[in-house]
Symmetry: C2
Subunit: 200 residues, 2 copies
């Protein structure tokens, strides 16, 4: 059965990104790589299953800030943070206010820029994913929007054992959610936690 999944790396206090994103610092100058680097880059083998699952989907949805740091009019030279071959290898629907032509990358990733809202993006992603899952790829503003609409079937948080104090937190603006605990796994650098949406 097709699931809508979402992965976020967060600090102990739930911060998933800073508010001061720039091209130099995709997560902001305060957060930097502190919630991803310790497990994704420094200990990938110990966290292989969870890292691989992040991009194991038939289609992806991300917010504009997950795609780039520019605001307002598109900088058409910007093609995302990931270089010529992004790790998605499938269609990625980017939530945007301004239209932009599809951006075809190497390795099967195509960025589609969707201007008619998160529900329309999800519909397109569900269709594009076929029998595979749809992944809400972040950032936290986008994840929280889908959580608030109760459209995420499986939420996976990767909790890095530091506090950051400020930034955009998972569950901001999501006051009345109820999930079901599914699994947890602790590795030396991170705690992987999974919840599911209750069956209707």
């Amino acid at each position: 059965m097709q699931l809508v999944t979402a992965d976020l790396a967060v600090s102990l206090d739930g911060v998933a990104a800073g508010r001061d994103q720039s091209r130099e610092y995709p997560f902001g100058a305060h957060v930097r790589g502190r919630i991803t680097q310790p497990w994704m880059l420094e200990h990938p083998e110990e966290n292989r299953a969870e890292i691989d699952a992040i991009v194991d989907a038939g289609a992806f949805i991300m917010g504009r800030n997950m795609f780039g740091a520019d605001r307002g009019e598109w900088d058409l030279d910007w093609q995302g943070w990931w270089g010529p071959e992004p790790p998605y290898h499938g269609p990625v629907f980017v939530l945007a206010h301004r239209p932009r032509p599809d951006l075809v990358m190497e390795g099967g990733t195509t960025f589609h820029f969707v201007t008619d809202g998160p529900e329309a993006a999800l519909e397109r992603a569900r269709e594009a994913a076929g029998e595979r899952n749809v992944s809400i790829a972040g950032g936290p503003g986008t994840t929280n929007a889908y959580l608030a609409m109760n459209l995420i079937d499986e939420l996976r948080l990767h909790v890095v054992p530091i506090t950051l104090g400020e930034g955009i937190r998972v569950f901001d603006g999501v006051p009345d959610l109820t999930l079901v605990p599914v699994s947890s796994r602790t590795t030396p650098a991170v705690t992987h936690l999974t919840w599911r949406r209750p069956v209707d």
Copy 2:
């Protein structure tokens, strides 16, 4: 080796208590029993090890609001939320601004009211606990104060799968903590997570 431990039940968004505590609602009218009841009262057998560990210490420290809902001058008729035989069965040091005589309860619990601050309370609790652990018993304001001083050796969060949106959160005012992940266990009602303070 004696450890300083701390247990808190929290929501997905980290809320451990409301700001509207009253005698009727020890956790506030919004939070009520929603972060404790689903696992401590409704499914105690599935969570037995973690529940038992909460009171497995030689001495305890709690904030005044964990002891009672009155503010200002003591209501000397109030003897805590737990009835004649509290579950601590040992000395409990209550952080307070106003002195109050020791309160001896049945079953070995004695409440001592400490007016010279959290570090002095910890010193007294360490001494009283002998070789056993000292437990920081909450509420979240007290736990956060000890976390901010980096005096907690083992932090155990019990994450109930709901969001609450507002209230006092674990890690509020604790911006630069670094811990080490130790363990995690998921039961149908709650996720039990343990971290340790890094070895100096």
